[in-house]
């Protein structure tokens, strides 16, 4: 019995190492868990007063990567990393959803009753056609966007998209307007 308990502990430890690698700080994981809540609390105030939050983080026992209590600069940088990570995960999820949608749309049996599932009670799929994902949605599998809809710059072409999106914002155009014109060379060499 005690052997099983030890194994369970080890399993739990391994799970912890995989889910939360030690190269991230306790503050990072706390911000990941509370990301949505913090965004809601921030509301329309775009600037977060990290100096005021740091004593609260310290009271929770949260530290930066060096084990020290967070300071305003390290807290702000950690928050930016969390936002980037969240955006990356969401982009990956969106790409996976788009891929599933493509597969579903290309399934020749998609409109057959056997595909509807036991709980399906709506009209047949033939009446509600699922449009294939747009080129932009597929393309998201290579790049991701932050919470404001701006591309995360990882290479030269994405810097071009970023510059284009900045111009869109200044020109009151939709943030993703025409971005396929910037990276089409990469997609269609």
């Amino acid at each position: 019995m005690s052997f099983m308990t030890a194994e369970m502990k080890i399993r739990e430890s391994i799970r912890g190492h995989l889910a939360r690698p030690k190269e991230r700080s306790s503050l990072f994981w706390w911000l990941v868990e509370n990301h949505q809540w913090l965004l809601e609390q921030r509301g329309l105030h775009k600037r977060i007063m990290w100096a005021a939050l740091c004593p609260e983080f310290a009271a929770l026992g949260l530290t930066d990567r060096t084990g020290k209590p967070p300071n305003p600069k390290s807290a702000k940088l950690t928050w930016e990393r969390v936002c980037k990570e969240k955006a990356r995960i969401e982009a990956r999820q969106a790409a996976a959803d788009a891929e599933r949608a493509v597969k579903a749309a290309s399934n020749p049996r998609r409109n057959m009753p056997s595909q509807f599932g036991a709980k399906y009670n709506g009209p047949p799929l033939a009446v509600v056609p699922q449009p294939p994902p747009s080129e932009g949605e597929l393309w998201m599998g290579k790049y991701w966007f932050d919470e404001a809809g701006m591309i995360v710059v990882i290479d030269n072409p994405s810097s071009g998209v970023y510059a284009h999106q900045e111009r869109n914002l200044r020109s009151s155009r939709p943030i993703k307007d025409g971005i396929e014109r910037v990276i089409r060379s990469k997609e269609k060499p």
Binding site: K73, N156, S159, G160, Y162, R167, S171, R173, V182
Partner: protein
């Protein structure tokens, strides 16, 4: 994020590799303004920068940093290609001895680079001495601006891994928006090729640039409320514009991953 929180987060690295930054582009595309910012922020952080202004037809850097002053710009003897080529070689040597960076404004000097590369390939020179070459291509929204830098890019006289294509929004004509103005560049047949090899950046318009230049103040002197050559300071609104512009540029440097590329 408030743009003014960015300056606080941007601290200069204590030490970095010396940089040979060469600006390409037609005249009056804002290259000197961009180089001026690079020079000021580097010197402010205690990093040494030699200024070479080879654009004698429009010697903005030499006007801002008068030749002969301790940290003034250095100009070639004449516009003659041989003189300019000798001048580049000489400045490169100075850069080696000083251990600092070198900012080279060649204006439309593609012929100069062509001539100079026969005697000495600057990227190879940098590699030999452990410096990082940085190509800066400045353009406005005119197709000719892009064609000019694309020609230099294709010729490969200064082909570097680190290269920035800067689209200067200050050159967008009244009545056009920034996005529409640069659309024709995206449609240029050379753009797909260039985008793979250069980091792109938009340089926003600084509304009070002409006032700032007339005052003779540097960007940072202006926001520190110093007096200009006419004894006047920029008003608080203009100071705010300059601060905003600097912080926007700093944010871009970090976001685009090029902060460490700069002198």
């Amino acid at each position: 994020m408030n743009i003014h929180s960015f300056e606080e987060a941007t601290e200069p690295a204590a030490a970095r590799t010396s940089v040979l930054a060469v600006r390409h582009g037609r005249g009056r595309t804002g290259g000197s303004t961009f180089l001026d910012l690079l020079i000021q922020r580097a010197r402010r952080a205690g990093r040494s920068v030699i200024i070479g202004d080879g654009d004698r037809g429009n010697a903005t850097l030499a006007n801002l940093y008068p030749p002969g002053d301790k940290f003034g710009a250095v100009q070639p003897r004449s516009d003659d290609i041989a003189d300019v080529s000798d001048w580049i070689t000489s400045l490169s040597g100075e850069m080696v001895e000083s251990g600092g960076s070198l900012v080279l404004d060649l204006g439309g000097g593609d012929r100069v680079l062509s001539e100079h590369s026969r005697a000495m390939a600057l990227p190879d020179f940098c590699e030999a001495f452990g410096w990082q070459p940085l190509a800066i291509y400045m353009i406005g929204p005119d197709a000719e601006d892009f064609e000019h830098v694309f020609k230099i890019f294709k010729a490969g006289y200064f082909k570097t891994e680190r290269a920035i294509l800067i689209m200067n929004e200050a050159l967008v004509r009244a009545g056009k928006n920034a996005s529409g103005a640069f659309d024709q560049i995206l449609d240029h047949p050379g753009y797909p090729e260039m985008i793979e090899s250069v980091r792109q950046m938009s340089m926003p318009r600084l509304e009070c640039m002409s006032v700032l230049r007339a005052s003779g103040l540097s960007f940072f002197d202006a926001i520190e409320n110093k007096h200009g050559v006419d004894g006047k300071r920029l008003n608080l609104g203009q100071q705010f514009q300059v601060r905003t512009w600097i912080n926007q540029m700093e944010k871009k440097f970090v976001t685009l991953g090029i902060e460490e590329w700069l002198p």
